[in-house]
């Protein structure tokens, strides 16, 4: 990260010398600025409408670790063009509002500014004393630092705008400890026990200037906190990836990191379009519990109480005889007790009276139905998931074919269509996989029928492409192959887009009805 990331050119315009800004004199002009800005400049509040953003308006960009700081400073600058506050103050204010510029501006001009500064743990910059820190009239007098209790020349004292002054050594020790241990560089309070004013970047750069390692760690933590706080930014969840993604809304739409990983911008789970985050999480939980499958086994089979062999109930009679020829135990299907005391009729089962029996039987039938429905969607979902797991293999096969084609005289770039086709195939499978989750929760209506048509079309297109890539590709000539592959994958992409558009338009016009199951 270069020093230029830290230029706060609102303070001094001639900043092109090599000296980083944080080395500049602490006596910034801002201490002299006492005119409170109480009214917004004309035109400011006429901002763009903040209504719900359409699916098609969703945009995102991937931000590398080196760009994060300048991104942060851009936001500070944008706000400062209006506020004219010291950039370090603006940064704490922005952090307090989770980097939501609009909300900060609203609060700044609509509400009680005194309270705003208090809540953000900064000294009201409009009420600051004119006498800057370290520029007192009692320069010659030695004072005692409240932390180390050593005598210090007044010149050596440092402090924030709250004027709790400590010696520079104590500040250095304090910041080093806090910056090394803390996870949030923007939330270090003044060391005075009863003061909650936050340490700003200026004092960090000023005091820690001889310790570049601490400054680097401070910058690193600032960037971490920045992304965590900013509602429109997310870290790429792929292990080891240091990129962040910034979007223009918090929708649950998939984004793709520069590293190639696709994830949901809202919940950071692997991309799960077209199903919404809420139902995706519900589904994951349902599958994880695995209770459904367990129930299925439970509802349809039991173990012989004597030899533990698995018994499936086929007829309606509860008098069971174990199929294990060495066992042949007689028992009751309902209570698993020995059959003998039940006598001639299962009504004698003491845990099973007439009305309960009916409820239990109905319940079991209903449960079975729900289960079959779940298994229908689950099997199709798992099918696509399994196919996706073969993608690595397919990429490897395609790689070989691409090399063969190059041997036959094709340029590398001319063989890329094959890789792109596998990309398409994977996207389509991923989408298809989650259409079954979407459909599982969907209540039947006219729209759901149209959705199912789209789903079927995409499924057919995807399977055709898949089959072709795995099998038929060798039997055609290269030029035939290229045309066919491109046609098939374009068709797949188009079917996928049609399906997604319909689903997302449906979200917007509220035509989907869901059942929590």
């Amino acid at each position: 990260m270069s020093d230029s990331d830290y230029e706060h050119d609102d303070e001094d315009k001639d900043n092109d010398d090599d000296e980083p800004d944080y080395l500049s004199d602490p006596d910034d002009e801002f201490f002299d600025q006492v005119e409170p800005v109480l009214k917004p400049p004309p035109g400011l509040m006429a901002k763009e409408p903040r209504g719900p953003m359409g699916y098609l308006d969703f945009k995102f960009t991937c931000i590398g670790p080196d760009e994060l700081m300048s991104r942060m400073h851009d936001i500070v600058k944008q706000v400062n063009a209006i506020f004219e506050l010291p950039p370090c103050t603006t940064r704490i204010l922005l952090s307090h509002f989770n980097w939501d510029k609009e909300r900060l501006l609203e609060r700044f001009y609509d509400g009680n500014q005194e309270k705003l500064f208090k809540d953000a743990h900064i000294v009201n910059p409009f009420r600051q004393a004119r006498v800057p820190v370290g520029n007192s009239t009692i320069l010659s007098v030695d004072v005692i630092c409240d932390i180390c209790l050593m005598e210090t020349s007044h010149k050596q004292l440092e402090g924030l705008e709250c004027h709790h002054l400590f010696c520079i050594d104590c500040w250095r020790n304090y910041m080093r400890t806090r910056i090394e241990d803390s996870g949030n560089a923007l939330a270090i309070p003044c060391p005075h026990g009863k003061c909650d004013i936050l340490v700003n970047e200026n004092i960090v750069y000023r005091v820690m200037q001889p310790f570049p390692d601490v400054i680097r760690r401070f910058q690193y933590l600032s960037a971490q906190t920045f992304v965590q706080q900013h509602k429109l930014m997310k870290w790429c969840p792929s292990p080891g990836c240091t990129f962040a993604v910034e979007a223009n809304s918090t929708r649950g739409v998939p984004v793709m990191c520069n590293c190639g990983y696709r994830f949901c911008f809202s919940c950071s789970s692997p991309a799960h379009e077209p199903v919404s985050c809420k139902y995706f999480q519900l589904w994951v939980k349902k599958c994880e519990d695995d209770s459904e499958t367990a129930h299925w086994i439970h509802a349809n089979t039991k173990q012989c109480p004597k030899c533990k062999a698995t018994i499936e109930k086929s007829g309606g009679c509860n008098h069971m005889v174990c199929r294990n020829v060495n066992c042949k135990a007689d028992f009751c299907w309902v209570c698993l007790g020995p059959w003998e005391p039940h006598g001639s009729s299962w009504y004698n089962c003491n845990r099973y009276n007439n009305s309960n029996a009916k409820v239990a039987r109905d319940g079991q039938a209903q449960h079975r139905q729900a289960l079959e429905r779940y298994l229908f969607y689950y099997n199709r979902y798992v099918n696509h998931m399994k196919s996706l797991k073969f993608e690595d293999k397919l990429y490897a096969q395609i790689e070989v074919k691409m090399r063969d084609m190059q041997k036959l005289g094709l340029a590398w770039i001319e063989t890329q269509f094959l890789k792109q086709a596998v990309d398409s195939l994977c996207h389509c499978r991923n989408t298809l996989m989650y259409t079954y989750v979407f459909a599982f929760f969907l209540t039947k209506n006219n729209h759901s029928i149209l959705f199912e048509d789209n789903q079927r079309d995409l499924e057919m297109a995807t399977e055709t492409l898949s089959e072709y890539l795995e099998r038929d590709i060798n039997s055609d000539s290269i030029s035939d192959t290229k045309v066919k592959v491109q046609d098939k994958s374009t068709y797949c992409e188009r079917r996928r887009q049609v399906l997604l558009d319909y689903v997302y338009e449906g979200y917007e016009s509220d035509i989907w009805e869901f059942n929590m199951m």
Binding site: D146, I147, C148, L149, M150, C170, N173, Y174, R176, T177, P189, P191, H192, G193, K194
Partner: protein, 151 residues
């Protein structure tokens, strides 16, 4: 920090000895000026009343940037103190600032004896007992004070 003990520690020690916190005796070890022997009198009208609780206090190398280390040596039945005598006090953790002193820490410990907080427990079983039946827990605390906290 030339030549041994920082001035801050010297001054704090001096002050602790000349103007002790009422109900608390804290004095440095003869061989280690960073190690303090502490005796806290159980506050009046609490189950710890008339008990004398031995504690140890140690000032780490980077004190006052990091908080003192503090532990009860005497067994005590308290929801915020575990079996090893460790104390759940935010002043000793994230709320620590170098402007706090040994004195403030000792005062907070005294406060904790007067007002146990079972909602922020360190000793989970004690806290659970305390919440389930306060009268019984207080009786146990009193009993422990009688058995263990007599010098």
């Amino acid at each position: 920090m030339a030549g041994g003990l920082p001035k801050r520690i010297l001054r704090e020690t001096e002050k602790l000895l000349s103007e002790p916190v009422p109900g608390i005796d804290a004095r440095p070890d003869e061989n280690n000026a960073r190690y303090f022997h502490v005796i806290v009198n159980g506050p009046k009208d609490t189950p710890f009343e008339s008990g004398k609780f031995k504690m140890e206090l140690f000032l780490p190398e980077d004190y006052p940037m990091t908080p003192p280390k503090l532990r009860f040596i005497t067994k005590i039945y308290h929801p915020n103190i575990d079996q090893l005598g460790r104390i759940c006090l935010d002043t000793l953790k994230d709320k620590w600032t170098p402007a706090l002193t040994i004195r403030t820490v000792l005062l907070t410990v005294q406060g904790l004896l007067s007002a146990p907080n079972p909602d922020d427990p360190l000793a989970n079983d004690v806290a659970a007992a305390w919440k389930a039946n306060e009268t019984k827990a207080i009786a146990t605390a009193r009993q422990w004070t009688r058995i263990y906290a007599q010098v």
